[in-house]
Amino acid sequence: MAKSQSASLDRKKLMADPIMVTTIALLIVFLTVFILYPLAILLVDSFVSETGFTLDTFKRVLALPNFRRAITNTLKVGFLVGIASALIGLLFAYVEVYVKLRTRFMEGLFRVVSMLPVVSPPFVLSLSMIMLFGKAGIITRFLLKIYDNSVYGFWGIAIVQTLTFFPVCYMMLKGLLKNIDPSLEEAARDMGASRFKVFNTVTLPLILPGLGNAFLVTFIESIADFANPMIIGGSYDTLATTIYLQITGAYDKQGAAAMAVVLLGITLLMFVVQKYYLEAKSTATLSGKASRERMLITDKSVTIPLTILCSALAIFVILMYICVPFGAMFRTWGYDFHLTFKWFGQVFKKYKGFKAFKDSFILSLISAPITALLSMIISYLVVKRKFKAKGFIEAVSMLAMAVPGTVLGIGYIRGFSGGLFGSGILQGLYGTGAILVIVFIVRSLPTGTRSGISALRQIDKSIEESAYDMGADSFKVFMTVTLPLIKDSFLSGFVTSFVRSITAISAIILLVTPSYLLITVQINEFAEKGAYGIACAFASILILITYGAVLIMNLLMKYFGTSRRVQTND
C-alpha cells in the first residue's frame, strides 16, 4: 500500500493556492529567524569556541559560586511558589464552584482577582510589598513599629510571585472543577462518605493532573520571572537576574549565553512534561459538561471559614494594588503623608513621561494587531488545514511559551547585533523599534495562538468546508468565515497582546536603546534607585492604561462579538 498518490495530490492542491503557500512560507521564515535561530545561537555560543566543540564555557560558569547559588535559589523559589499558587488557586476555585457565596461583594472580589493577572504589570506587587512591609512600610513601621524589617530576598520574592501567579491557577482549576459531573460526588455522598472523604477520594484524584499542570505552569512562570526578583530580590539572585547582570554588568556574553541555556533547559523540560504529559491527562479525565447544576455547600461550618480565608487573601491582594496609586500621591512614603501631585508632575516634566508613554503605547499598539492576526492565522492552519510543515509551525509557536524573556533577550543580542550569523544581514534591525515590536510579537504569540486554537476547535469543520466547496479559496474562507467566527478570540488576543507588550520587561530591557523610553524600564530603574514615588506614578498610569484597554475590549466584545450568536446556533 503506497500513500504516495494522495500525498502528491494534496501537495498539488496546496500549490494551487498561492496565498496559502506564501503565508505558510513566511510563517516558517518568521518562526525560524525570530524564535529558533536566536535559541540556536545560544547553543552555538556556549558550546563552540575557536577550537571547535567545547564544554569550557559551561565549566567556567558552573564554577561561578553566584551562578550555582542562583540555580538553587531559582529552583527553591519556583517550587515554593508553584505549590503555594496551586493550593491557593485550588482554594479559590473550590470556593467559587462548590460553596454558596452569599453576597455580591464576594462575587465581585472573585471577579477582580481573576482579572488582576491580565491587567497587572508584573512588578507592581513588589513595589507595594516594599511599601507595606519594607523598612518604611506602612504596616511594619507604623502599625507594628518594626523599624528594620527586610522584605528583600527569598520570602519577598516567594510571597510576591505567589500573589501574582495564583489567580492563573485559580482560573485553570476553576475550569476543571466545573467540568466534574456532580453526580460522581453525589454518588459517593450517597454511599456514606463524609464531605471531606468525598473531596479526598473523588474530587482530588480527578483534578490531580490539573493540579500538577497548574503547579508546573506557575513553576515555569516563576523561574522565568525577571521583574520581581530584580526589585525585591535584593542580594538574592535568581537565574534571570544573574544572566542579566552577567551581560550588563560583567559584559560576559558567552557566559550569559551558557547560563541562558541552563535556564532554557529547565523551563523546556518542565514545559514538555506539562504540555505532553499532564495537559493531555487533565483534559482526558474530565471531558464534557456537567450533566446538571451542582448542589452548593451551604453548611456554615464549611462556608464561613472558607469564605473568610478567601476574602482575606483577596482583599490583601487588592490592597496591595491600591497601595500603588497612593504611593504616587504621598510626598514621601513612610514619612510624609501629605497628598501631592508632584510625582506625577515629575514623571511628565522631569522624566520625559510623555515620551515613555508614547513609545510604549505606540510599539505595543503596532505589535498587538500583528500578533492577534498571526495567532489567528496559525490557529487556522493548525486546526483546519493539513500540510507537512503544520507540526513545525504548531511546535515552534508553542515553544515560545517555554522560553523565558531573559533567554530570548540574550538570544537576540547574540543573534542580531552582528546580523544573522554575524554576516551583517538584518543587522539594521538591531537597536530599532522594529526588533522591540518583534520581541513583543514573539512573547505574546503563544497565548494568542492557544486561545485561537481552542476557539477554532469548537467550530464545526464543515462550516469552512462548505465555504470552500462553494468556491471560496483559502484566503476568502479565512476572511469571510473563520475570522468573523472567532472575532472574540481575535479581539481578546489583540488586547491581551497589547497589555502583555506594554507591561513587558524581561526581554526588552536587554534590547532597548536610549532612543526608546519604555514605561516598564523606567519603573524598574526608579524602583531600583529607591525612588518609589516616581515608580508608583509611572505604574499607576500604566495600570490605568491596561485597565482601560481591558474595558475597551469588553465593550468591543459586547457590541461586535459574535460568539454568543454562534454558540446558540447548533
Binding site: 500513500k3 494522495s6 465555504a467 470552500y468 450568536r565
Partner: protein, 353 residues
C-alpha cells in the same frame, strides 16, 4: 435549471488511512470502480466505517485518492481543489455560516462567482421558493428549525447550479417524521432541477425511497451497484441481503436452474449463476413465507407477537431461527408459542446465493 448535467466516473479509486491505534495502513475505500449517469440519483449506502463518506469527500475534493482517477463529466479532477470542482455539497451538520442571514448564506457562492446584485437577488429568491422558504431571507440561521436549516443548505448548494450535488447524510440530525417528508422533498427538487445527485446514508429505507441506483459498500469494498429492487430481490451476497431489509438464510443445494432442495424438499427458487449441485444460502425475506398446518418445511413457533400490521414470529427450523412476518393477521390463523407450523413459498420469492 442546471446548465449541464454531469456524470461522475470513479476509476479504481482507493483510499488508504493509517489506523491511529495500531499505526497500520488500511483501505478505507478499495478499488471502487463505478459510473454515475448524468441526471441520476445515486446513493452510497452502507454501515458506518464502510467508506461511503470518504468516497463522497474524495469526489468533493476534501480527500485525495491514493489510487485511481475521478472524472467529472470527461474531466479528470484528482488534482483540483474543492473550490475549483463543479460540485456542491449538503453537509450532515448543515454547515450554514452562522454570522450570515439566510439570504447571504444562499448568495455566498453566487457572490464568489462575481454575479451582479440583480441576478443574485433573483436567483436567491427563486431557489428559496423552490425549497419552500420564501420570505425568510432576513432570518438568522439560528432562528430556523432543523428542517428549515436543511432546506437552506440545499438551496445554497443548488443555487450555484453545480454539475453534481453531493449529500452527506443530510437528514440524520432530523427527527423521524421530518426525515421521511424531507427525503421526498429532496427527490422532488432533484427531479425538478434535473441535477445529478450522489447521496450518502446508512439508512436503507431512505436509500430505497429516493435512489435510481444504490451503491452498497462494506469495509471499503463496493458490494453491489444496482436499482433498489434488484438489491432487495437479487442481492449479490449475504452482506447485501442482510443490510437491505431483513433476511433469513436457509442452507440448500441447487437442484436445477429454478429449484433448490431445502430440508429435504425441492422448492422453487431463483439460483442466478450457481451450478447445479452447489451448496447455497437461500435468502428468505420475513414476508416471503406463508404459514399453514401443512406444507414443505416444518418448524416450531418460539415467539409470536401481534404488531398491528403483521404478526411477528420466530420459527425454529432445524437449528435455524427464522424471523417471519405474516401481514394482515386479522384474517389468518394465529400460531402460538409451542405450535407446530409449516412454511410454504410462492414461486419467485426465494433467491439462492
Amino acid at each position: 435549471m442546471a446548465k449541464e448535467k454531469k456524470g461522475v466516473r470513479l476509476e479504481h479509486i482507493s483510499k488508504i488511512y493509517k489506523d491511529p491505534k495500531t499505526g497500520k495502513d488500511f483501505y478505507a475505500v478499495k478499488d471502487a470502480h463505478l459510473e454515475i449517469e448524468p441526471g441520476s440519483f445515486v446513493t452510497l449506502l452502507g454501515p458506518s466505517g464502510c467508506g461511503k463518506t470518504t468516497t463522497l469527500r474524495m469526489i468533493a475534493g476534501f480527500e485525495s485518492p491514493d489510487e485511481g482517477e475521478i472524472y467529472l463529466g470527461n474531466e479528470p479532477i484528482n488534482a483540483l481543489t474543492p473550490n475549483k470542482r463543479d460540485t456542491a455539497m449538503v453537509f450532515q451538520s448543515y454547515a450554514l455560516l452562522p454570522h450570515y442571514n439566510i439570504f447571504d448564506n444562499v448568495a455566498y457562492g453566487l457572490k464568489l462567482r462575481k454575479m451582479d446584485k440583480e441576478t443574485i437577488k433573483r436567483k436567491v429568491t427563486d431557489i428559496l421558493g423552490l425549497v419552500g422558504l420564501e420570505g425568510m431571507e432576513n432570518r438568522m440561521t439560528n432562528q430556523l428549525s432543523g428542517g428549515q436549516q436543511q432546506r437552506v443548505a440545499l438551496a445554497r448548494a443548488l443555487v450555484i447550479e453545480p454539475g453534481v450535488l453531493l449529500f452527506d447524510e443530510p437528514l440524520s440530525n432530523l427527527d423521524a417524521k421530518l426525515r421521511v417528508s424531507m427525503r421526498t422533498e429532496i427527490r422532488r427538487i432533484q427531479q425538478e432541477a434535473g441535477i445529478t445527485a450522489i447521496y450518502v446514508t446508512h439508512d436503507q429505507s431512505e436509500a430505497m425511497a429516493i435512489s435510481d441506483k444504490v451503491i452498497i459498500m462494506n469495509r471499503g469494498n463496493v458490494e453491489q451497484i444496482s436499482t433498489p429492487q434488484e438489491a432487495y430481490y437479487y442481492p449479490n451476497n449475504k452482506f447485501v441481503a442482510d443490510f437491505i431489509g431483513e433476511a433469513n438464510f436457509l442452507k440448500g443445494k441447487v437442484k436445477a436452474q429454478d429449484k433448490v432442495e431445502i430440508a429435504g424438499s425441492d422448492i422453487s427458487c431463483a439460483t442466478g449463476s450457481l451450478a447445479v449441485g452447489a451448496e447455497c444460502d437461500v435468502v428468505l425475506r420475513p414476508e416471503g413465507a406463508i404459514l399453514g398446518d401443512n406444507g414443505v418445511i416444518k418448524g416450531s413457533v418460539k415467539y409470536s407477537c401481534f404488531m398491528g400490521a403483521y404478526q411477528d414470529y420466530h420459527i425454529l427450523v432445524g437449528d435455524t431461527l427464522l424471523k417471519i412476518q405474516e401481514y394482515n393477521p386479522k384474517n389468518k390463523k394465529i400460531y402460538n408459542v409451542g405450535d407446530e407450523v409449516f412454511l410454504n413459498f410462492e414461486d419467485n420469492t426465494l433467491y439462492a446465493l
